[in-house]
Symmetry: C2
Subunit: 335 residues, 2 copies
């Protein structure tokens, strides 16, 4: 066991300290028979149609109510595979650690990461660590890359979307964005709001083989409005959203009103937006509402003819406003 309390540059040099860092922190928590820390590359045992994705994580602070960068790094990549219709199987993990990070913090984050991987039934089979000098990193940056196996013959994607289709969201939006923001000391605000950071596999599995499913995406950076904008841009149709139908937790709404944020642009880390055929919308919504993760799922809008790209929000007062493509950054480093 290493006697250091903080990460030093020597933990990144390929020698003894790096080996101890890997043994004492990463292999200890992630320990599985397939994690060969000696190997240059590992064998995968896979059959079927494979899906592949990668994501970097730079969230600040590293730990926040409801999660931390470790579980976020697992959920983020698992969720990207899930909304693409895959069953996630293997992850790789690359960590860029800043000199001076406390070992205790790293231990907690890697333990959280390992638990998230176990819960999602994915194995972390390859890894790498680098150490950068103090002042050249935000404590810890993680990249996870995932491989999954296509779990359904139901072909879906943006190209299946048609005029008249409905938009569903699996739960309230903006929790992750506001939870991370409140955790930043500079705001001087505290609340009991938790990030929605979670694995969305139960939600995606519930719809995967159902007729009428056209498209799924998890609204992370840029939030619900950005997913809606991407749909409009890719399809050439307008997206119409109904403000009164979009679930938003009361504390999120309060903070947004106080600080002038728009909850529709805030990141979620455990929600799914689905586009579905209108005649199946009630049935698919019911599938989500049967799950604890989907209790507050709602039908929030539809695809319509009209100049694109454009996202129209019907306000609660009966007016209309356009949700523009995100330009300035309301909350940097949210994931």
């Amino acid at each position: 066991m290493t006697q250091n309390r903080w990460i030093t540059l020597a933990h990144g040099n390929g020698g003894r300290f790096m080996r101890e860092l890997i043994d004492d922190v990463f292999a200890r928590h992630l320990g599985n028979p397939d994690l060969d820390v000696q190997a240059d590359a590992v064998s995968l045992h896979l059959q079927g149609d494979l899906l592949f994705t990668t994501d970097g994580f730079t969230v600040q602070p590293l730990e926040f109510p409801g999660g931390d960068i470790g579980c976020l790094a697992v959920h983020g990549t698992v969720n990207d595979l899930a909304v693409a219709g895959a069953l996630p199987r293997y992850l790789s993990l690359s960590a860029v650690i800043e000199e001076g990070l406390e070992f205790d913090v790293l231990q907690r984050i890697v333990a959280s990461l390992a638990k998230a991987a176990k819960d999602a039934q994915v194995q972390i089979v390859a890894g790498d660590t680098k150490v950068v000098p103090r002042g050249q990193g935000g404590g810890l940056y993680l990249t996870t890359t995932g491989i999954g196996v296509r779990a359904s013959d139901n072909e879906f994607g943006m190209n299946r979307i048609q005029v008249g289709d409905c938009l569903l969201v699996s739960g309230p939006v903006g929790d992750h964005g506001i939870a991370v923001m409140l955790a930043r000391e500079e705001f001087g605000l505290r609340g009991d709001l938790q990030s929605d950071c979670a694995c969305v596999l139960p939600l995606t599995r519930a719809l995967l083989d159902k007729p009428g499913l056209k498209f799924m995406r998890d609204p992370t950076r840029g939030g619900l409005a950005t997913v809606a904008y991407e749909i409009s841009r890719a399809t050439g149709w307008r997206v119409r959203l109904s403000e009164s139908a979009i679930p938003v937790h009361d504390p999120v709404r309060s903070v947004c009103e106080m600080l002038g944020y728009d909850p529709y642009y805030l990141a979620c880390e455990g929600r799914v937006v689905a586009v579905v055929a209108s005649d199946q919308a009630e049935r698919l919504l019911a599938c989500w509402r049967d799950l604890p993760q989907g209790a507050r799922a709602a039908c929030i809008g539809r695809i319509e003819e009209g100049p694109s790209p454009a996202v129209v929000l019907e306000t609660e007062l009966g007016g209309e406003r356009f949700l523009e493509e995100l330009e300035d950054d309301p909350l940097p480093r949210i994931c």
Copy 2:
């Protein structure tokens, strides 16, 4: 085309600037029909026994004689697959970009990365970008994750190594370490030495199906001495190296003597160390010497009985010294 000259935080927010960054820089250079920047995950077309690896890159400076962080990020992961006996097929790329990085620098690095991928015949099919505030990154950190297909039935690995086996190296050691060090302004030294940063696939392919091949590894962080130490540690035998046999370029030797570095601990980024059966060593060495990358390949040592882990260097003067496991970091952030 974006009008910004430098990266701003808004380039990481999931909105318009991020889309332009991806379109104008990443998709422009990496453009291939399989790179769907809209998709959450991409389909892979693969058959056979798959190998998987990941590596993070934090080299400083971002550009150095003979390479840059872009081609290094491709070669590093391609080479890890190559020494494991795979034909690399697909890469993912995650970039953490520091606010204030010049677009011109990023363009050059991504162009170099794209060229390296093309030369190695791997496709970059998934990617992610994040932007961190000024002062919280070293300009650019990259992570690449690779998938390859096992290219030989010849089973090799550390467990195949036996007493009497020979160690081969494909070329002079320490070039990358010294080239990067000289590129750091603080040293005030300049030389015409280039990094050896290159794809090692021609070298690994040349040995892959040959009888007598036991193990291959590319000596990156920690250099030749660290690979030798890892072999000793894993096998329980000693590694004996002959100083007079180890190829080292003259300028590398001069700088090492001047600054007190040991070239055997310096990173290479385009060399391979192979452990081979002694009765096949001459034949396998000849295979390497037939290649331009292997012109200076040499047999540099052997596996012997003795207390382990230990690496013994027979010096040119006929003495012996132990190459200890690396503890302090001679040159941080070399890859």
